[in-house]
Symmetry: C2
Subunit: 259 residues, 2 copies
């Protein structure tokens, strides 16, 4: 275009480098929304899209059309059977949701929470945000897998965002973080936060120990109790070393179970 | 929902009160995008939608469907023939565009520009943001009507936002301004900024005086010269009083023209 300041664009190109963020869509329904989410991601320099049980067959031509050229995102999207599988390699996962939850979990606005997540990324943690499907949003069990809930303070009478819009909002925040000031995190940069896979592995071991011990014997209460227990350990932001310690504790307390 | 903290919601309801912002879509093409923009607006507590020459007949059922319940926005949308008509009652208008422009105009990021616009609103100015259509974005003549250009620092290799996404981004920023610190503007709160209608009225008078005087006689240069002149006066952020002064100057310099 006439008059475009090429050197300014070059400078933008050099300075616009947000770290990777995985976007996980759980049970997305409409291909159009997956495509629009892909476009929003690439607008913000992000490409790691993961789909958990998409309603329609994947690949989905409607998604490709709506992506308007963000093929690198759509074509690279990976499909998973469970949310736990989709986030197994990530260390820090936030959940975007419009609804207040009956759950003890840190809730942050995107404006404050996303910069915090990005600081994690800049100290080497692999990060992601999970989004629920169009109809019902995230299941409580998915939210329980997250470290922090992101909830935007929007119109209380009309909160529900379109899925593509929700992805744009979070990715936009991610791309606009200016001063991530990672210095305060450097002191424990030798310890690595546990991955979600390691955490879920511990949860399952703990829960099976609790099943065997009879702690979870009241069947109708089990899901809520499991969720509450998972939330407690999530909030602790466990390192890999701490997780090994906890495994040791379970082994010690419940020795009849084979390790 | 079980466990929803009703008093927290009541508090949200009481504190979520962004001032009005007019959203002006110039030559929007797809009803779906108008509907999605409407939904995004209401998510952010905004309802004043204005359409300039929408491609399809209005009202448009596709817009209503895509609005997902934001009927108050879609049903209340007003249609105008020109951008100047659509913004005639507004005092401060910013233009959202993805492309750098060959124009002397203040460019701000939404992160910094939108809070500035909201401070104008909070001192009583009527504010709006204009967005271009899907295919080509805003015409330069529309951008020339704006006080400031809003341009998000996004992926330089994939800048173009979906129209609904662009509206969401700006309205979201509008709704998230936390500390608008209007104090610095209070000192001139007795003077009122000129409306766009008053400004365009002055432009047209000035340009006709310049036509008559022969200043704009080279026909192929006229559009660019007119645009440059308009930009100069836009940047001045004229008050209604200053505009009357300028009218007086034109009358004085070009007395043969009837007032």
């Amino acid at each position: 275009m006439a008059g475009t300041d090429k050197s300014q664009l070059d400078e933008d190109e050099a300075t616009f480098k947000p770290p990777p963020l995985a976007v996980i869509l759980v049970e997305p329904q409409m291909g159009e929304n997956i495509g629009m989410a892909s476009r929003a991601m690439l607008n913000c320099g992000l490409t790691d899209l993961r789909l958990v049980r998409p309603r329609d067959v994947w690949p989905n031509p409607k998604a490709s059309n709506a992506a308007s050229g963000a093929d690198i995102v759509v074509d690279g999207a990976r499909v998973f059977e469970t949310t736990a599988d989709a986030i197994a390699d990530l260390s820090v996962v936030y959940a975007a949701t419009a609804r207040p939850r009956d759950m003890i979990k840190t809730v942050m606005t995107p404006r404050h929470g996303v910069p915090r997540l990005r600081r994690e990324a800049e100290t080497g943690q692999s990060c992601g945000v999970i989004f629920g499907g169009e109809r019902a949003g995230l299941h409580n069990d998915d939210v329980a897998l997250a470290d922090v809930v992101l909830q935007a303070p929007l119109n209380p009478g009309f909160r529900s965002l379109n899925l593509g819009h929700a992805v744009l909002m979070i990715c936009y925040e991610w791309s606009q973080v200016e001063n991530t000031a990672p210095a305060e995190f450097l002191t424990d940069s030798h310890t690595r936060q546990a991955t979600k896979g390691e955490l879920v592995n511990f949860f399952e071991r703990l829960e099976s120990a609790l099943d065997e011990s009879g702690f979870l014997r009241i069947l109708e209460k089990r899901p809520v109790m499991v969720r509450n227990i998972r939330n407690i350990f999530h909030r602790a932001q466990l390192t890999e070393q701490e997780l090994r310690t906890l495994h040791g504790i379970v082994s010690a307390l419940h020795p009849q179970r084979k390790v």
